[in-house]
């Protein structure tokens, strides 16, 4: 059963219908095989780019789809319900496009953006380092001024699409602008000294490549600096709030898929003379799963609508990320439980969903970090009682 959605326009309804059509025909049948073979589906991103699904939240003037986040995220959710690797890839790509889209010069926006938001080129977001994940300020990879630009050196870690991406929105320390200063650069793999390490061997999302990026004295032309020098931290953190919403939607799509698998199985499989779905023990499990999925969806939509309305949404984005990814972990684990022994085998997708859910509690800021963010918002927003 397709999820019944409240969408703001006929245009959005058509967009969701197109997404479902493509996802059913082109994503769902390929997911299990690619994940098992750990094969990155580069061609699927080309198809989604041609369909106009790689730049949905960006303005139409720069080649985007001009869609509000509340609609874009529901597209991500539908994609994730068929193949989380692909939906995550779109979320990362969107994140990677955002520095040039929001902070790029007129020339960068004109020359680079059409192929980026059009999806001809695939993006990666290169912020973390091995010792500096959520602690962004601890990063060491640097860019120092050279005669005609910058010289970049160091190693970035956990780069989704590392080795496959066509451009990398990369954050590097630029000491010249002050000790702590970080700047954003648009790097491409053709630059000398740029290389991707052997991909990580992961527990889940094995179709999505994650790799470290090495920068061995990479000469970076001056026009690859994105935004003001030293402004990288603000660019990175602003994009992360939106990225957390992307991950929330991906987690809800995955959880919805796990719920669908569990319900279909529980209706088919009989024990003690009736479908197991009619045994209260299983029915309550399914009910809790549905409640988790729908409340998580509502939570990311609340945050997205605040963003679309131009209101602060950082706290709500962290809450959505926390709620949605914890829900995905719980719901996928319970889906394995509903399927019993069958759920533990690779004949059914439940165990794969469970492995895929785990990393969602970790990336884009661990859920412990999300709690810290939420806590800081709460204490900083306290108004002292009068008198």
């Amino acid at each position: 059963m397709p999820v019944d959605r409240e969408l703001p326009s006929r245009e959005a309804e058509d967009l969701l219908a197109l997404t479902r059509e493509i996802a059913d025909a082109e994503l769902a049948p390929k997911a299990a095989e690619h994940e098992r073979a750990e094969r990155f589906p580069r061609e699927v991103f080309r198809l989604l780019g041609d369909a106009g699904l790689m730049g949905l939240p960006f303005p139409e003037e720069i080649g985007g789809g001009g869609q509000p986040y509340a609609v874009y995220l529901q597209v991500l959710e539908e994609l994730a319900a068929r193949w989380a690797t692909v939906a995550l890839g779109i979320s990362v790509h969107t994140l990677a496009c955002s520095p040039v889209a929001n902070f790029g010069t007129e020339a960068q926006r004109r020359d680079l953006l059409p192929e980026m938001v059009g999806g001809t080129l695939l993006g990666a977001y290169s912020l973390s380092e091995a010792h500096a994940g959520s602690d962004v300020a601890a990063m060491r990879a640097s860019a120092t001024p050279s005669d005609d630009g910058w010289l970049a050196r160091g190693e970035k870690a956990w780069v989704t699409h590392g080795g496959h991406a066509d451009f990398y929105s990369t954050f590097l320390r630029t000491p010249v602008d002050g000790d702590r200063a970080i700047s954003c650069f648009h790097l491409t793999p053709d630059l000398p000294g740029f290389s991707a390490a052997k991909p990580e061997e992961k527990m889940g999302l094995t179709g999505s490549t994650t790799a470290a990026i090495r920068l061995d004295d990479v000469p970076v032309p001056a026009d690859r600096l994105v935004g003001e020098p030293g402004r990288g931290m603000a660019i990175a953190l602003g994009a992360l709030d939106s990225g957390r919403l992307g991950v929330s939607a991906v987690a809800v799509g995955l959880a919805q898929s796990a719920l669908d698998v569990a319900v279909a199985y529980a209706v088919e499989r009989s024990a003690f003379g009736r479908p197991i779905a009619e045994h209260q023990g299983v029915a309550f499990l399914l009910a809790d799963m549905a409640a988790a999925v729908e409340s998580a969806r509502a939570t990311y939509l609340v945050a997205a609508r605040r963003k679309d309305a131009g209101k602060p949404f950082s706290r709500q984005a962290s809450i959505a990320k926390l709620v949605a990814t914890d829900a995905a972990m719980k719901v996928t684990t319970d889906a394995v439980q509903v399927l019993g022994g069958a759920g533990y085998t690779r004949d059914h997708p439940a165990e794969r969903y469970m492995r895929e859910a785990k990393v969602m509690q970790i990336f884009e800021g661990t859920n412990q970090i999300q709690r810290m963010v939420i806590g800081r918002h709460l204490t900083s927003e306290v108004v002292p009682p009068a008198g």
Binding site: E11, D14, E21, L47, D50, L53, G65
Partner: protein, 259 residues
């Protein structure tokens, strides 16, 4: 190269399809109505020809108001404009009557080529290209798996069970296509948005100069008198293998004309 693609809206062949017990016509109201799958291949072929040779692709459909969804799908794939013949009097028309309506509509259009799917998934008559060719005095090249348009001539490979026939005709001509001919494109989101601004003209029977009494269920040349649901699946055939299982298996398949 101006191409008219004939498009029909049909109940989704993947869902349960029903006839309306009131007059034994296709029950459209409750059905999941979609563009006839085979027509998507004709649209794709027309768009490919247009992209190579220029010109316009116009969609022509005969159907109720709801058929606008099929038109929008064709326009979102890239067709330029559409003509929608809609008139309550057409309800229940047979293929012969429908061909008169389509021929009249084509008579008001300019084209070098008319294309359509080789069959519709609802009635599966596959007679429309022939009926139109007769009415319009045009050559028909039906059941194509390959189309080449060169210097005022259409060449097709007409698919057969054992191979193909090479056919050729001067333009204008009518070509119907099978699903072996290409891989239809998905609409893009931008295509969907652009489709809303493309012109769709509606025509009534009066606009086409046709008499309402000449079409419709009452004067149809064929009529569904009765129908029955598909019988439930049988038990199947069990073959006991006594060393000759393979032979029995092949005998069965041969008996069903499968091998």
């Amino acid at each position: 190269m101006n191409i008219v693609v004939l498009v029909k809206q049909v109940p989704d062949s993947g869902s349960e399809r029903k006839l309306d017990p009131a007059d034994n016509t296709v029950a459209r109201a409750a059905a999941d109505n979609v563009i006839n799958e085979m027509d998507e291949y004709a649209i794709e072929e027309a768009l490919t020809i247009k992209e190579a040779q220029g010109g316009e692709v116009t969609v022509l459909t005969v159907g109720p108001d709801s058929a606008t969804d099929a038109i929008r799908k064709a326009l979102s794939m890239g067709a330029d404009k559409a003509v929608h013949v809609v008139d309550d009097a057409i309800h229940g028309s047979c293929a012969v009557q429908t061909s008169a309506v389509i021929a009249a509509a084509l008579g008001q259009m300019e084209y070098d080529l008319v294309m359509c799917g080789a069959e519709a998934t609802d009635a599966q008559l596959s007679v429309m290209p022939a009926l139109l060719a007769e009415r319009l005095g045009l050559p028909q090249l039906s059941g194509a798996r390959k189309v080449t348009i060169e210097g005022g001539t259409a060449k097709v490979e007409r698919q057969t069970d054992g191979g193909f026939w090479a056919l050729e005709a001067p333009l204008p001509a009518i070509i119907s296509t099978w699903d072996t001919i290409n891989e239809p494109r998905y609409p893009s989101f931008k295509g969907i948005m652009a489709a809303k601004k493309k012109p769709v003209e509606t025509r009534s029977l009066a606009d086409l100069g046709l008499d309402a009494g000449s079409v419709g269920l009452a004067s149809a040349t064929s009529k569904v008198l009765d129908f029955a649901g598909r019988p439930p699946k049988g038990e199947g055939v069990k073959v006991t293998d006594e060393g000759d299982g393979a032979q029995k298996f092949v005998d069965y398949l041969a008996g069903q004309k499968i091998v």
